[in-house]
Amino acid sequence: MTGLGAFRAALVFGLLLVLHYTLRPLLGWRAPIDFLVIAVLLAAVRARSGTSALLGFALGIATDSLNVEGFGARALAMSIVAFAASWMKAIFFADNLALNGFFFFIGKWAFDIIMIVVEQRLSGGAMVTQLLLWSPLSAFNTAVAGVVLLIVLRPVLEPSRT
């Protein structure tokens, strides 16, 4: 990835970070959009697997500082999702918006499953409801937002294959 491409990717990454902490609380949805997962997945396709895992770990541990009881859960989930996305980037980011949306959906849902299981904050019916109802809805919203962002930011983003 060239320097200009890295700069553009960093710019988009920062934009998604800001959207996660402004637009997401402003909307206040019960099944919110996870811009951090979108940012990690878009960054993972442009970096190597180890770098993607490190980026996911850093983003996850920073987010965990706001939820001390589950410290480390998001870091673990982000690391796994980012590594897997980078590992499957040839399939993940084929030039097909529907396929990209599908993998945004899978990535967000997998992130929620790992985080909820590791965090152990929910149990019983509440955990089942969260995993089978609200997480899929949030994943769907995240997928739609991710596809829209891909369309909007396509002139900025450069698809790179390393």
Partner: protein
């Protein structure tokens, strides 16, 4: 390798004790995450402000909608208070009813009432309101009844002026628009001229409507081809929008008379004026002031004034009837204990259409109230 290290560190962070975990989390919050947290705080404040604005807008709209209903509620409250007052003055022999207005053609001259024969309503019973006469019951069902309003062509009560000097028959005023709700007093003797603003009440002739129920006030005279009689245009005492809550009087109550019911409010103001003039405290103050003036040698105001300057009685009111009349000049109705000497029946009075009547009873002739004691040489005029 990096991936494995990240997994290990993540698991280690998950298993860290609180004493190590909390300082690390605090350091991250105060450094890297702090600007992001401030962004989130601003977004949360914006959202809560927007939600509060929505709630305030809804609340303001609800308040505005309720405020629009306040005048109607106040008006209805006032009407119900007056109706209660009328009921207390009547005392017995009446039933309250709600007027059920329809939207069909012709419903402006008839109205359905919410009570019927089950409540004691009978045909030809007078329908009254706090302001005066509304109409008469035309048909009666067990639970409802239909009343003719004053605008109906068949509604023609016998009427007279408040002082009993002029008699006539009420007819609806055949006109379009707003004047269609006015009334006509026909058949008034030519010598009995009524001034604008004169009150016209039922005369009690015919036996359907007792004497003394206000019908309307004179608006002006209508020129007709009849040279021996006058016709006056009246504004009804009860405006059409106010025909909502009414009372239906029984025959026994009508026969007992309602002379003082609709004039009590006026009599109250006259009585208060008389009471003020005779107030012992004010007279005492005046006497002291007069004594002081006499002691100073001021002889120009040795006589007592009529009343204290702050409590002067009501000024004289111009009597509405100015034409010469055959009967002795009656006064306004204020004294409930005065006797009612019979007088000759008025000539050329057309009977009303409801019931043919026996020889009419005399209109009330009330002598003026006696002047208060201690005030000589003062004439009291009572407002009508």
């Amino acid at each position: 390798m990096l991936f494995v290290l990240c997994i290990v560190f993540a698991i280690a962070a998950r298993l860290l004790p609180e004493t190590i975990r909390d300082p690390i989390a605090a350091t991250l919050r105060q450094t890297i995450v702090r600007p992001l947290v401030s962004l989130q705080a601003s977004a949360e404040r914006t959202r809560s402000s927007w939600l509060n604005y929505e709630r305030l807008s809804v609340s303001r709209d609800s308040i505005a909608l309720r405020a629009m209903q306040v005048p109607a509620l106040e008006s209805e409250n006032e009407r119900l208070r007056r109706l209660l007052s009328l009921g207390s003055r009547l005392g017995w022999g009446f039933v309250a009813a709600e007027a059920l207005h329809g939207q069909a053609i012709g419903d402006e001259t008839t109205v359905a009432l919410s009570v019927g024969s089950d409540a004691g309503v009978r045909r030809y019973a007078p329908v009254v309101a706090p302001e005066g006469l509304v109409g008469t019951v035309q048909s009666v069902d067990p639970g409802t009844s239909v009343a003719l309003l004053w605008g109906h062509p068949q509604f023609r009560p016998s009427a007279m002026s408040a002082d009993g000097s002029a008699f006539g028959i009420i007819h609806p005023h055949a006109s379009e628009g707003a004047e269609g709700f006015l009334l006509e007093l026909r058949g008034v003797q030519f010598r009995s001229a009524l001034d604008t603003g004169s009150l016209v009440v039922t005369s009690g002739l015919g036996g359907v409507f007792p004497a003394g129920i206000p019908i309307g006030t004179v608006v002006g005279e209508i020129k007709t081809t009849e040279l021996w009689a006058r016709t006056y245009l009246l504004r009804p005492a009860v405006p059409p929008p106010d025909v909502r809550s009414v009372m239906i009087m029984s025959q026994q109550r009508s026969a007992a008379g309602v002379q003082q019911i609709w004039t009590i409010s006026k009599a109250d103001s006259a009585a208060r004026g008389i009471a003020r003039a005779g107030d012992s405290l004010s007279r005492r103050d005046q006497a002291l002031a007069t004594a002081a003036r006499i002691a100073r040698g001021d002889t120009t105001s040795a006589t007592l004034p009529v009343a204290a300057s702050a409590t002067a009685p009501s000024p004289p009111v111009k009597r509405p009837i100015t034409a010469p009349r055959t009967q002795p000049p009656p006064r306004a109705v204020t004294d409930t204990t005065a006797t009612k000497p019979p007088v000759a029946p008025p000539p050329a009075v057309r009977p009303d259409t409801i019931v043919t009547s026996p020889p009419p009873t005399a209109p009330p002739v009330i002598p003026p109230p006696p002047p208060p004691p201690g005030v000589a040489g003062v004439s009291f005029t009572v407002p009508v």
